[in-house]
C-alpha cells in the first residue's frame, strides 16, 4: 500500500442550523493512498458532500483530524481539482472562460492554457461549445464542462461529487473510461497516478472505476464497509458482465440496505 495521501481520523461533523444541530458525519476514519481511486457511496444526505468539503478544507470538521499530503487541513488545500455536485459554472462566462477560471483565480498565465482547455473540451465532447454561455448547454454538458475546469491545472488530487450524475447512461460510461485514462490507468505506474475521491450513487459506476468502494450509512454518516475492488485493470466494458463484478456489486448493495451479513 502506498503512503497515505488523505487521512481522516475520527472525524465528526455537526452543522448548527436554525432548527438545531444536524449531525452529518460521525467517527469517520479513512485513509486514501497516493494514486488510489476511491469511491464513496451511501444514501443521499449521509454526508458524502460534507466529507469532500472537509477534505478540501472548505469546512472545518467539528472533531477529529484531517491530513492531506502530510499537512493538517485548516484552510482550502492547494493543488486540488474539485467537481461540485451542481455544475456551478459562472453564468456570465462562456464555457471556455469557465474552464480557464482556475488559472485566472490562481494568478497563472491563461494564454498557455487555452490549448489545453480546448483539448479538455474536445475530450468531454464539448467541441464547438467553447463560446456558448452555460445556460445554452444541457445539465449533462454543464457537468462535463465543470469536469474540464477541475482538470485544467492537472491537479494530483481530484475530489469529485457525483460528477456524472446528470449524464445519460451511455455518456456516463464514456466519461468514466475517459476519467480512468486521465487518471493514468493505462500508462502510469500507480505512484504517478492522480488520487481520486469519487462520490457516486451508482454502485456499478463505483465498482467499475475504483480500487476501493467505501460504503456509508444513513445520517449521521459512518463507514459501513470498505470494499477492495480486486478487478484487473485496465477496466473494460466487458468486465461488467463478469461474475466478480456482480458479486462485488451485490455485496455493496446489501451493505447499503443493511443486509450485509446475508452475504458475508
Amino acid at each position: 500500500m502506498n503512503q497515505s495521501l488523505i487521512g481522516l481520523d475520527r472525524v465528526d461533523m455537526t452543522y448548527a442550523t436554525a432548527s438545531g444541530p444536524v449531525e452529518a458525519l460521525a467517527g469517520i476514519s479513512l485513509s486514501v493512498g497516493g494514486g488510489e481511486f476511491v469511491s464513496l457511496v451511501g444514501p443521499s444526505g449521509c454526508g458524502k458532500s460534507t466529507l469532500l468539503r472537509i477534505v478540501a478544507g472548505l469546512r472545518p470538521a467539528t472533531l477529529g483530524t484531517v491530513m492531506v499530503a502530510g499537512r493538517a487541513v485548516r484552510d482550502p488545500i492547494p493543488d486540488v481539482g474539485m467537481v461540485f455536485q451542481a455544475p456551478n459554472l459562472l453564468r456570465w462566462r462562456t464555457i471556455l472562460q469557465n474552464v480557464l477560471l482556475p488559472a485566472e483565480l490562481a494568478g497563472k498565465e491563461v494564454g498557455n492554457l487555452r490549448l489545453r482547455a480546448h483539448e479538455l473540451l474536445d475530450m468531454a465532447g464539448l467541441h464547438g461549445f467553447a463560446d456558448k454561455l452555460p445556460r445554452e448547454l444541457s445539465g449533462g454538458m454543464q457537468q462535463r464542462a465543470a469536469l474540464c475546469r477541475a482538470l485544467l491545472l492537472d491537479p494530483p488530487l481530484l475530489l469529485m461529487d457525483e460528477p456524472f450524475g446528470a449524464l445519460d447512461a451511455m455518456t456516463r460510461d464514456d466519461m468514466g473510461l475517459e476519467l480512468l485514462r486521465i487518471w493514468g490507468e493505462r500508462d502510469l505506474a500507480r505512484e504517478a497516478r492522480k488520487t481520486v475521491l469519487f462520490v457516486t450513487h451508482s454502485i456499478a459506476e463505483a465498482v467499475f472505476l475504483s480500487d476501493r468502494v467505501v460504503v456509508m450509512t444513513a445520517r449521521p454518516g459512518r463507514i459501513a464497509a470498505d470494499v477492495t475492488v480486486d478487478l484487473p485493470r485496465p477496466r473494460t466494458v466487458e468486465l461488467r458482465a463478469s461474475e466478480a463484478f456482480g458479486r462485488l456489486s451485490l455485496l455493496i448493495s446489501r451493505t447499503l440496505t443493511g443486509r450485509a451479513h446475508a452475504v458475508l
Binding site: 492547494p78 461540485f84 459562472l90 456570465w92 477560471l101 483565480l105 490562481a106
Partner: protein, 255 residues
C-alpha cells in the same frame, strides 16, 4: 428591415391608440369649447415646441445636465455604499439603519434646505435627484454581492483565490444584473429629483419653465416642457436598458 417590420407589428396597436387619443383631444379642444389655458390643443403644444419664444435648447440642456449628474452621483454613491455594506459586517451595522432612516425621509421636503445651503444652481438639483435615486442602488448592490450561491464562493476558495479576486471575478459579476435593474429605477428617480429641485429653486431648466407658465397661464408651454422631460427621461432609461443588454446579456429575462 426585418427588425423594423417586427417592431411595427408589435407596436402598431400602441401607435393607433396614440393617434386616436391625439385626434380626439384635438377635436375636443377645437369643437368642445375647452379653453386653451386649461387644456391646450395638440397643435398649440406643437407650436409651443417649435415656434414659441422659449429657449428650449438652453432649458433642455440644463435639465439634462442635472439629470445625468444626479444619475451618476446616485450610481457611484450607491454602488460604493453597497460594496461597503457587503464587504464588512461592521460597515453594514453602521450604515444600514442610517440609510434606511434617510430613505424614509420625504426627500422632497429637503429641497428648500438645499436652496439655503447651496443657493441656486444646477448642483443642488443634481443632489436632489441623487438623493431620491441612490437607495435602490445601495440595496441591490449589497444584495447582489451577498446573495450568491455558497458553492460559487467555494469555487474561488478551492482554487486558492485571494478575497479581492473572488470579489472581482465572482461577487461583482453576480451583482451586475441587480445593480443594472436598480439603475433603471434610478434613471426615473433622477428625472423626478431634478425637476423637483427646479420647482423649488431655479432660474433655468424645464422645471423652471413649468413653474413660470403658472403665472402666465401659458399652458401649452408647460405641456411642451413635459414632452421634453419625458424625451430626456426615456433616453436615459433607454441608455440604461441598452447598457444592461450589452454588459449582462447572460442575465436577459432573469430580472
Amino acid at each position: 428591415m426585418t427588425k423594423f417590420t417586427l417592431a411595427s407589428r408589435q407596436y402598431w396597436p400602441t401607435i393607433v391608440l396614440f393617434a386616436i387619443l391625439l385626434a380626439s383631444w384635438q377635436i375636443a379642444v377645437s369643437f368642445g369649447g375647452i379653453r386653451e389655458y386649461l387644456l391646450p390643443s395638440p397643435l398649440a403644444v406643437w407650436n409651443a415646441l417649435w415656434f414659441g419664444d422659449t429657449n428650449w435648447a438652453q432649458h433642455v440642456w440644463i435639465t439634462t445636465l442635472e439629470i445625468i449628474g444626479a444619475f451618476v452621483l446616485a450610481a457611484v454613491a450607491g454602488i460604493a455604499l453597497g460594496v461597503a455594506i457587503a464587504w464588512s459586517p461592521l460597515m453594514a451595522n453602521a450604515l444600514v439603519p442610517f440609510l434606511v432612516f434617510v430613505n424614509t425621509l420625504p426627500k422632497v421636503a429637503v429641497a428648500p434646505l438645499f436652496l439655503i445651503w447651496m443657493g441656486y444652481g444646477i448642483f443642488p438639483n443634481m443632489l436632489m435627484g441623487a438623493l431620491i435615486g441612490f437607495f435602490p442602488v445601495v440595496i441591490n448592490t449589497a444584495v447582489g454581492l451577498t446573495q450568491i450561491e455558497p458553492d460559487m464562493l467555494d469555487l474561488g476558495r478551492v482554487f486558492n483565490a485571494p478575497k479581492w479576486k473572488i470579489f472581482v471575478k465572482i461577487r461583482l459579476p453576480n451583482a451586475l444584473p441587480y445593480i443594472l435593474s436598480a439603475l433603471k429605477i434610478t434613471a426615473t428617480a433622477a428625472v423626478v429629483g431634478a425637476i423637483v429641485g427646479e420647482f423649488v429653486a431655479s432660474q433655468r431648466g424645464l422645471g423652471y419653465v413649468i413653474v413660470t407658465t403658472q403665472s402666465s397661464m401659458n399652458t401649452s408651454v408647460a405641456f411642451a416642457a413635459l414632452i421634453w422631460i419625458s424625451v430626456v427621461g426615456l433616453l436615459l432609461y433607454g441608455a440604461v436598458v441598452l447598457a444592461a443588454r450589452l454588459w449582462a446579456p447572460w442575465a436577459e429575462g432573469a430580472e
